[in-house]
Amino acid sequence: MNETAHIEHRDYATAKLGMWLFLFTEILLFGGMFLVYAEYRQLNTADFHEAGREMNVFLGAANTVILLTSSLTMALAISAIKKGMKIRSLLFQAATVLLGLGFLVNKYFEWSDHIRKGLYPDSPVLLAMSHGKILFFGLYYVMTGIHALHVIIGLSVIVFMFALTLRGNISDTDYVKLENTGLFWHIVDIIWIYLFPLFYLIL
């Protein structure tokens, strides 16, 4: 009996280590894009500042608050399941999903506003602008786009975890799946924490 307990214990730490290592690849993936951003901002500082004025600081800040809050609800969902409070955990997971959807809706309005102004990749309006602005908006669409893709993936996983929690597959004795989902969700939040000043706060 003791032996099986020991093996389960190892599995827990193994799953977590694997998840952390996977998160490192995410850091490097976005790191590559930050490198592109850093070089082009260095070479086109003035253009980047001008392009930054096109951004809606209010929407960006709202999305930051939404994601930070969703990180809080995710962390609380995990603490709840650890203490065996299933309903509370489910509620917090649902809250996380709603907040994540809110983020995406916000993002949708933001993008469509830009597209209405003709500011999208390869658009005639954009191509008539200076090189720095073309680069800024290219980076803006791709970096926030890949981030939004991560939000969508994260949300799908949380919905899946919600179902597992509901069925009792995630419980106070086996919650590492939910914890790992949380880790992914938090790293998505951290990336946004950096994206926010890089695109919205260069005034």
């Binding site: 214990h9 952390w20 790191g31 600081v57 990180s71 939040d189």
Partner: protein, 94 residues
């Protein structure tokens, strides 16, 4: 094999961290509006790093993990720093 697998963090702690994160968000917007030129960006990145550390340390439970996890986190951070610094030796002097 002593691992804090079932460490309970008080809800209060998480809420405090969340409030701190919101305050820092306000601060970073303020810093950006102060028109400090290059320093705005430096301040913003510094504040973002503090926020990221808070998320890592509390929300992602790094505080309660084994030392291995804390040490490993330096590996990607050092790697990405090396990559950016060495590339900038090209960009600064080109």
């Amino acid at each position: 094999m002593e691992e804090n697998t079932s460490h309970h963090v008080a809800t209060r702690t998480f809420v405090f961290v969340w409030i701190a994160l919101l305050c820092l968000t306000g601060l970073t917007i303020k810093a950006a509006q102060m028109q400090m030129g290059e320093w705005s960006m430096v301040a913003n990145i510094a504040i973002a790093s503090v926020k990221a550390s808070l998320v890592l340390w509390f929300f992602m439970h790094l505080k309660y993990e084994k030392r291995l996890f804390k040490l490993l986190l330096f590996v990607p951070i050092i790697t990405i720093s090396i990559i950016i610094v060495l590339t900038f030796f090209d960009i600064w002097y080109r």
